[in-house]
Amino acid sequence: MPMPYYVSPEQMMQDKAEYAKKGIARGRSIIAMEYVNGILLAAENPSASLHKISEIYDNIAFAGAGKYSEFENLRKAGIRHADLKGFMYSREDVTARSLANGYSQSLGTIFSQELKPLEVEILVVQIGNNGHANEMYRISFDGSIIDERQYAVIGGKSEAVQAVLKDRMPTQLPDLRMALNLCIAALEQTGNQKLSLESLEVAVLDRTRDSRKFRRFSPTETKQLQS
């Protein structure tokens, strides 16, 4: 039996990271942005039924970029985690922080132990109630977790989108219409093309809603909102 070649751990990790990054960059960007009444999530998504943005719990939403099958599994796992916790304890005990930690653990373990890392980058966002701040966590393929403020971008040319937003983000929290237009402008500018409303997936966590704060916008609603 031939001996396997020796590969240094550094080399192996680097190769895996490169592989994952390539997969994620192939996709398109997703933006989460705080606005006065909550958090707006906007993604470029040609499919009307395969969602990138989804509800996890009362005040928590999820967005995934990269390989659909992989972040879809993570999304389902998150919903199971949240529903189980809410059933066992109480609805208010389900937090984005604990969920983000779970994701970070899972992704980190897979990255270091499995042959193929997950080609995903995910966002877990939660709106704060009663004066508590919003929380936005960006979790990478290797399990590293970053706590974002004002806006967060994952997938595609995320750095370019971030640069655009950094320039144009107002100092005060924008209203919903302004936030939506800002997101669309940033996606169009980095993609170098006009986005049709059908290829835009928009959802919000709206603090003014009862119990379940997540709401998805149809293309017609998005259009009404824009103008």
Binding site: N73, A77, L84, F87
Partner: protein
């Protein structure tokens, strides 16, 4: 690979997930697993454990949907265990359920059913059909069968607005999980028969909302009149039965003020007959 909740099954049911992963938290399954509590054991032979029991609840169709209502009393033997227990639950945007039986497990089943429907909706991206929801509840009642032998009966009454058919629907169950649809009205619990008698006399198809609500509250009043386990309006403490309206716009709570108003009229009419 041991990762928390990474799915190795693709089942959208929260109930099945709980059964597989946390049988200790699943009603019914848990009772079956409890070694000391199997049928025929000394504890059971000594007589069932007394637990708070919840009583008359009813559902009644009207022209736009269904009225669902319930009294507020829980009893433990000959004692009142709770005067303001809530037996009518909003389950999701288009369904509500009311419960009769052992109070604790009843409330637990309502909570589990609520989570079940929300879980399905989030995983699949669509809501279950009205029939699907009613079936699922039937399976949960069936899973509770081991608890029934311990004396912990849970009996739900499910009402939903079927968006596809554009009509309200009422489902009743039996202890073995049998599911039966009712065409007009139904009441369950210890005062269920009394409530059904009242509704049978006064029900007609296509009633207006106010009329249906009045009949539902009258049925509860009559049930409380004849059944010790059912609580009538408590004028001293200001505790009144609760009711919800289920129709195309969703689930609406009927305000306590409105219910009080209806009872005030009803009681005044009764009093005038006595003098």
């Amino acid at each position: 690979m041991k990762l928390p909740f990474l799915p190795n099954h693709d089942d959208p049911s929260f109930f099945d997930f709980l059964t597989a992963q946390h049988p200790d938290l699943t009603p019914g399954i848990r009772a079956a697993a409890m070694p000391g509590l199997s049928a025929g054991d000394p504890l059971r032979a000594a007589g069932a454990v007394t637990v708070p029991q919840a009583t008359t609840v009813l559902g009644l169709k009207y022209q736009d949907g269904v009225v669902i209502a319930g009294d507020r009393r829980a009893t433990e033997g000959f004692q009142i265990a709770e005067r303001r227990i809530e037996k009518v639950f909003k389950i999701d945007d288009y369904s509500a359920m009311a419960i009769a039986g052992a109070a604790g497990p009843c409330v637990e089943m309502a909570k589990l059913f609520q989570t079940e429907l929300e879980h399905y909706e989030k995983l699949e991206g669509v809501q279950l059909s009205c029939d699907g929801k009613a079936n699922k509840l039937g399976q949960m009642v069936k899973a509770n069968l081991p608890m029934v032998f311990q004396g912990l009966v849970v009996m739900p009454l499910y009402v939903g607005y079927d968006v596809k058919r554009a009509e309200g629907r009422i489902f009743k169950y039996d202890l073995a999980g049998g599911r039966y649809e009712e065409s007009d009205y139904h009441a369950i619990g210890s005062g269920g028969k009394d409530a059904r008698n009242t509704m049978r006399e006064h029900f007609r198809k296509g009633m207006a909302e106010q009329e249906a609500l009045k009949l539902a509250l009258l049925a509860l009043y009559n049930a409380a009149d004849d059944d010790v386990g059912t609580g009538g309006p408590d004028l001293v403490r200001g505790i009144y039965p609760t009711a919800k309206i289920v129709n195309a716009t969703g689930i609406t709570d009927v305000s306590e003020q409105q219910i009080r108003g209806i009872y005030d009229g009803m009681i005044a009419a009764r009093r005038s007959k006595e003098s």
